[in-house]
Symmetry: C2
Subunit: 359 residues, 2 copies
């Protein structure tokens, strides 16, 4: 298992390579990964000379307790003024920042406070690329999170009966996950009945379940800081022929995409494997999103499993595989599992039957 | 009640004044406020010539159903490339964007796609300043959200007994809020026992409650899209003298700050009212955060009720008042209510007793 200390050391080696004196970290997932700090506000400055966490009064006690070996500074005035001042004081010359995580306004404040001695270097996804390769301890944690998600989806399926509301099912899912030790849902739990299943990101409403409706359940937990994400689709009653055909198509597409997941495979090829199966059924125009996404400390992280993505899978990558079809009049069908890439095999982390369930 | 249409009209009038042809909106709360769209990804371009929502395949059905009178465009390639292209096609000249909401990378993509014909104008908080002044329908919704939060805190207090875990209480609170129609918590519910109450933003853990411990419960709901936020502190047992004194100090500080809330009062003066009371008890150094924050579609929005804030309160503003004291060895005490500013009076939206509860 890598310790935060080793992660910091790996990052610092990478910075030296890119001739960056100090790297600014503004994402909570990134600073947790590097230091163990779980506070919600702050910024981390990583450099060979040492690592500093700048945060506000609400998180000082927490910072000292969690982020050992890191200098903890309380911000004076605005966060980014304090960070700029800290960089100026440490005589950092070339400072890296992630343009996808720093706002235009934050960069203005930083420039002003740090003064002309600092050159600002674009440094995209430095920590994210380390986070993509999960170590054994991370994979063990993600396995548990995935298994819990599978248990919750099975429990939720047992609740489905005519008259129950989407929000009752959603409330029960999130209650049970907390009772089982999750710190919360990895994303807003999706429970969509009937035509509402046509919305890939439907939030639970007061809609009641009726006979002969589709049900899409898409949920994930955060357990020990790591996310899981699973989707199952159920039919209340005996599914008509076209629904069976659609379900079969999505299941085959998912199976093909999982089979395409391999050490060295390009993410775009995994996406294409799903899309080709749906095209064979002439349903590819109803597949309105990408095949999957990386999963870890965040529910959406690198790598993206989407059309044309050239990134090649490596051992330690964990991704979702979640093809679906959606039609405004009818509803939607999606099947999603979490998959880990190993050197010589692929591991499906979620464990829940994938066949069409009719109840 | 203002309709989204009127809000858009008010915003467009404001843009004309600032000589902005089109305003880019990238925050979900802002696009919901202006159009009713509840999707999680996209961008809105507001201009006199019409308003366009650019989103991806997952949200097209939802966009068409929710955002009436708005052109819905499906993004091609990345979101910000599509937005830039849309601005180029509409021959917009001066385009406003909020530097606190647009990343450096997004602005790079926008500039590239929109080409040299577009001038990018800093336009900070245009929609936020409209959102600060809640109308009657918004206040009615916020009253309901606040009352529900008060009920939940009372219910949670009844659960407190030796041996119960923080996470059991947290799970029950979030379950009950959903059963009562909330779409979810306004923020991660805080349940902190004993010394953990010294962390203003503690997340529930497996820690069990013991006799003679402080309990901080800080929760809020999202009900009909609007947030509430309430904190109560309880002592399990008969509180020792120093805890009673601290509680009394925080209660007096909160009472003084609520009394200072008035149409026309500066936010910094409201903050000072709380701080002065605590200083009288020599406890001001333990008050490690600001007195409050605006509340509405987001749980933290304008105005900020903090040291030195010059912004003057206006009718329709809704803010929290939440002084607290924290000490690493002992725990923490915080009391928080939600307050609406009217032309000639102040309304406390949360309804829950504020005296020290010993159980």
């Amino acid at each position: 298992m890598k310790t935060p200390f080793e992660r910091l050391r790996n990052l610092i080696a990478d910075l030296a390579h890119a001739k960056i004196d100090a790297l600014l970290i503004t994402s909570p997932a990134n600073w947790y990964y590097l230091t163990g700090f779980t506070g919600e506000s702050g910024a981390l400055v990583v450099s060979r000379k040492g690592t500093s966490l700048i945060t506000d009064g609400r998180f000082m006690v927490q910072g000292r307790a969690e982020a050992s070996g890191v200098r903890i500074l309380q911000q004076q005035g605005s966060l980014f003024e304090s960070v700029g001042q800290c960089l100026k004081d440490s005589h950092s010359n070339r400072v890296g920042f992630d343009p996808s995580q720093v706002t235009v306004g934050q960069l203005q404040s930083l420039r002003k406070a740090a003064g002309p001695g600092v050159r600002w270097i674009l440094a995209l996804g430095k920590v994210e690329s380390l986070r993509m390769r999960k170590d054994a301890a991370e994979l063990a944690q993600m396995r548990q999170a995935a298994i819990l998600a599978g248990e919750l989806v099975q429990q939720a399926i047992r609740l489905l009966k005519p008259g129950i509301r989407e929000l009752d099912v959603g409330a029960e899912i999130e209650y049970q996950m907390r009772k089982k030790g999750a710190s919360g849902p990895a994303f807003a739990t999706i429970v969509a009945f009937g035509k509402r299943a046509a919305l890939p990101h439907a939030r639970p409403t007061a809609k009641r379940l009726r006979k002969n409706e589709l049900v899409v359940l898409d949920l994930g937990v955060i357990l020990g800081h790591y996310c899981s994400d699973i989707t199952r689709t159920v039919y209340l009653g005996r599914a008509p022929k076209h629904i069976r055909t659609w379900y079969q198509a999505v299941l085959e597409a998912q199976t093909a995409a999982i089979a395409a997941v391999k050490n060295g495979a390009a993410c775009g090829d995994v996406d294409r494997a799903a899309r080709q199966v749906l095209a064979g059924y002439r349903l590819d125009h109803l597949f309105v999103h990408s095949t999957g996404h990386g999963l870890g400390l965040e529910v959406h992280e690198d790598p993206r499993v989407a059309r044309g993505q050239k990134k090649r899978l490596e051992p330690g990558n964990v991704i979702t595989i979640e093809p679906g079809v959606y039609s405004a009049g009818i509803g939607g069908i999606r099947i999603e599992d979490d998959v880990a890439v190993h050197a010589d095999h692929t591991e499906v982390l979620t464990r829940s039957p994938r066949d069409l369930i009719e109840i």
